[in-house]
Amino acid sequence: MNAPPANQKGVALTVRGLRKSFNGQEVLKGLDFDVRPGETFVIMGPSGSGKTVLLKHLIGLEEPDAGEILLEGQPIQSPEVLAKYRMAMVFQSGALLNSLTVGENVGLYLSEHRLKPPEEIARIVAQNLELVGLKGTEDKMPSDLSGGMKKRVAIARALVIEPQLILYDEPTSELDPLSAVVIGEEIVNLQERIHVTSLVVSHDRDLAFGVADRIAVINEGRILAIGKPEEVRNHKDPLIQQFLHANFNKEALKSGVHLKQ
């Protein structure tokens, strides 16, 4: 793999007519959107709307039935693109390798591809763990970490790749509000520091409006709206308004006024 120049800016991502079905059920129904270089683009929508399936297509873990995904204008699945551009993904669960220590997890990309000598890898690992506020945790096992710490380790692992496109799958799910804020800050800091293109998939409204340059709202495999956070917030679509303003209301529940009504 070719190493990109230091501080290389993020890459443009284009999705055209993306369709995917599982067992005859269409999950993605022709998605079209562009993510600009260096932008933080958030895709939000309710659970089961197709967000994670979309993300798996973007990272090449799923093959689309129709449509194309382009990175800097070239198909994302082509070996040239995979060799030329670096992508990383932060999984919802962190997806750390449980048999490896935190340090080994973070340095895995470098050690497996033999890109640096062990001492250099150890230095880079320490540096990236410090960046996510986990200095000195190299020798811990993933099972010793909290959910928030696992996600920060996953971010550190992604950073080691020096990605030009980083994908986050529900980065704040299962986290307490304070840890969620820390993760959100990491996403913003990262974008400012290395100008990476970030695509965040989340149903966390606070995170989405806090970190996004632009937001797309997806529901049942279709994009309902794309725009700057304010544009999405003021969008007239009732489904979007319902999603953005859904709150548990004990009084309304008692008086029989339910969310669906």
Partner: protein, 237 residues
């Protein structure tokens, strides 16, 4: 077959990743050596107990060593040890890889451009295909010892150490031991490929992992028995 072929093509990676191979090798050895000793000692003992009195009654005491020796090295040690390893190591391989699959660790490897076959499958199959034949050599020796012990201790057989060994030397040749070791090498590849494949195709949560483990062990044992017949047929000609 596809996984076997892809593993074969990636075999040179095993040397590059020899640390991972050694790690797996020692894990297999550590997990199995004691069980191999116990199992093969008693298999040798049972063989002597079953055949010894019958042969002695018919005045064929000198044949006991040969019968026990050749059964152990050509059939019982390779097959029984392979079944033990399928249960002990194959299940662990399927469970480990299956849980990595379910908890997206394999997806994470792919996103880092790390081939899961190179990273997970090749070291395991390489390690088991070296470890199992070695364990079988060990099992053959311990099995013979079990046979000797029972022959000496049981008053219905009462064959001396020398008597057993000379009978064994008369019948068992080096090629018979090699025959058993070769069989175990083939069985090791079967266990490795079947177990890793079941791990890689795991779907669902903990239940899916359980299903993969069961399938890995059952399929391995069925294939071991079928291939045992096929190999025996080929090696006899």
């Amino acid at each position: 077959m596809v996984l076997f072929w892809r593993t074969l093509l990636a075999a040179p990676v095993a040397w590059r990743d020899r640390n991972k191979v050694f790690e797996q090798f020692f894990e297999i050895g550590n997990a199995s050596l004691l069980m191999v000793c116990i199992l093969s000692f008693f298999i040798g003992g049972v063989m002597a107990l079953q055949t010894g009195p019958v042969l002695v009654e018919r005045g064929l005491a000198s044949a006991v060593g040969g019968v026990v020796g050749i059964s152990i090295c050509k059939e019982l040690a390779p097959v029984m040890m392979s079944i033990l390893i399928a249960g002990r190591i194959g299940s662990a391989m399927a469970a480990e890889i299956g849980s990595m699959r379910v908890y997206q660790e394999i997806d994470a490897l792919r996103t880092m451009n790390i081939n899961p076959i190179h990273y997970l499958v090749v070291p395991r199959i390489t390690a088991i295909s070296v470890a199992l034949p070695l364990l079988v050599v060990f099992a053959i020796l311990v099995g013979w010892l079990g046979g000797i012990f029972v022959c000496m201790a049981n008053n219905r057989i009462e064959i001396s150490f020398q008597g057993f060994v000379s009978g064994l030397q008369e019948v068992v040749q080096m090629k018979d031991v090699a025959n058993g070791v070769f069989k175990s090498f083939v069985f090791a590849i079967i266990i490795g490929v079947v177990s890793c494949h079941q791990g890689l195709v795991t779907r669902g949560g903990p239940r899916g992992i359980g299903r993969s483990v069961t399938k890995a062990v059952v399929n391995s044992i069925v294939l071991i028995v079928i291939f045992d017949y096929v190999l025996t047929r080929i090696l006899l000609t």
